[in-house]
């Protein structure tokens, strides 16, 4: 190194020792200073998480991978024809220079050719995404059932109607309105298998503050225990009931009554309600049914 060259030029041993000592001290000083700075940067980079209302562009890798892959060049922002995307600035919570949009301000328009994706030089926006309906930028959730006017009994369905995957990502379920006892509630229900997280519903919500919001999928979704099996799915898969024999449920009804499953409900049996032998009634069910 240069230090070796330097000591060759100054042959006296004492000077060489001093220069070696100074060299070591300089190295230690630099290493400590730079190391401390590195520690600070590292902790700074771990401290800020992406705020829930900031949504990544379509095709963005999971946040951890995204932060290692995005060069913060802004090419996706430039190629967004509707100026939806913006870059995180200094002092904002979004990591500096990374692209995002806020659905309530301007939602993703879901262009069919997805121009923001192929222009990404590294693939931080996954180039395999070619069908915008397969994008999963987040998941819309009806977060506030106290202010959503559908739950108050008013007709709205704006979120349902603006949804680009209309009728699939959001459906309207009819439920009885217990307040009036004779009207229906038209409740918006989001389906995660079709929702792209574009945020048009959040942007369009007619409230002062949207009752439907796009959340990061990991915040919006629950997860069943892996041991759960859904009986109806298993039955469909097997083609038959897995509980055999699959008996129709019987009610313990009063003597002489039966239950009609086709809508008539509780029925009086026409013949005499009384068994000839009372013991038959008491033993009913013990030998596998009447």
């Amino acid at each position: 190194m240069t230090d070796a060259v330097r000591s060759e030029n100054r042959p006296e041993k004492r000077k060489r020792a001093i220069s070696r000592r100074r060299f070591m001290a300089d190295v230690a000083r630099t290493a400590c200073g730079v190391g401390l700075l590195g520690l600070g940067i590292g902790m700074f980079s771990r401290a800020g998480a992406l705020p829930a209302m900031s949504i990544r562009p379509p095709g963005a890798l999971p946040e951890e991978d995204f932060l290692s892959a995005c060069t913060r060049c802004g090419l996706c922002v430039r190629d967004c024809p509707y100026d939806v995307l913006q870059l995180g600035g200094l002092g904002e919570q979004v990591p500096i220079g990374t692209p995002y949009f806020v659905a309530r301000e301007k939602a993703c328009v879901m262009c069919e050719d997805i121009p923001c994706v192929p222009v990404c030089p590294t693939g931080a926006l996954d180039h395999d995404l070619t069908d915008i309906n397969k994008a999963r930028m987040g998941l819309a959730v009806v977060v506030d059932q106290e202010t959503c006017i559908a739950f108050l009994g008013l007709r709205c369905e704006v979120c349902f109607n603006v949804c680009p995957v209309r009728g699939e990502a959001i459906t309207v379920d009819r439920r009885p309105n217990p307040r009036s006892d004779r009207h229906a509630l038209f409740i918006p229900v989001v389906h995660s298998d079709a929702c792209t997280g574009c945020g048009l519903c959040e942007q369009a919500c007619i409230l002062e503050k949207s009752a439907i919001k796009v959340l990061p999928t990991h915040l919006a979704k629950g997860e069943l225990g892996s041991h759960y099996r859904l009986g109806w799915d298993e039955k469909a898969k097997a083609g038959k009931s897995l509980v055999s024999p699959d008996l129709e449920h019987r009610y313990n009804l009063p003597e002489g009554m039966r239950y009609d499953h086709d809508g008539e409900g509780l029925m009086q049996e026409e013949p005499s309600p009384f068994e000839d032998d009372p013991l038959d009634t008491l033993n009913r069910g013990l030998d596998g049914g009447t």
Partner: protein
Amino acid sequence: MASYERLGADAIAVKGRLRAHKWLLLRRLSQVGILVLFLLGPWAGLWIIKGNLSSSLLLDSVPMTEPLVFLQMLAAGFVTPATTAITGVLIVAGFYLLVGGRAYCSWVCPVNMITDAANWLRQKLGIKPTTRFSHHVRYWMLAMVVLVALASGSMAYELINPVSLIHRGVIFGVGMTWAVILGVFLFDLFVTRRGWCSHVCPMGAAYGLIGKFSLLRVRADRREVCNDCMECFVVCPEPQVIQPALKGAERGIGPVIVAGECTNCGRCIDICSKDVFNFGTRFFK
């Protein structure tokens, strides 16, 4: 040492004001020109070049990716980038292998204009450097940047990298950029002479490593006519690179400035009244 008041007076007397600032003017033209090219898009809708210095797209066809950003990406664990980024980094690295690694620093990087301004003001005001630290700090910084990316799994340094912060801030109109500009300016004005670009910047260090092998070099081909005025040492942002090439005749060193830290800024060529220096290749005159 020549006093700052008459620094360059000899060169101006011999070559005239214009020729004594030839490379400096061309450099400013390049720096401002590149910034303007980037700004023509958002300002005038003329998209000659899109993106920013971290990654860009020239004429919608030529991709470019900054080598240190690319290195951080790999270190952060994203090892399967799209071909665009790989092509881009090869184009950039190849270009600087030709024109000199740190030609980026003196001909492209917007921070250079800020630190040059700080240096000019520091000389005018006669502010003496108070803190001294090694030119090698930048290599420690480079190692730190890669290690932090490795440890944090993200391009952590890009959160504070003033080069990309300033360039992105200007091009994309992100707020608070002035604070970063002011920070770098004050650092160079008060802390250390040529503090950021010649001591700390890990990006410059990375380009310096490319520069160790680059083709276009400054040469002291006429070093025998040197009159020891020392003005080249005064104007050079990396004075340590000149000495071996200029004074190494007896030891058989030079006349090419081979140190990667030389930024190919050409100020030594401008300032020399004896025309000792010239641009040339590493191999031939």
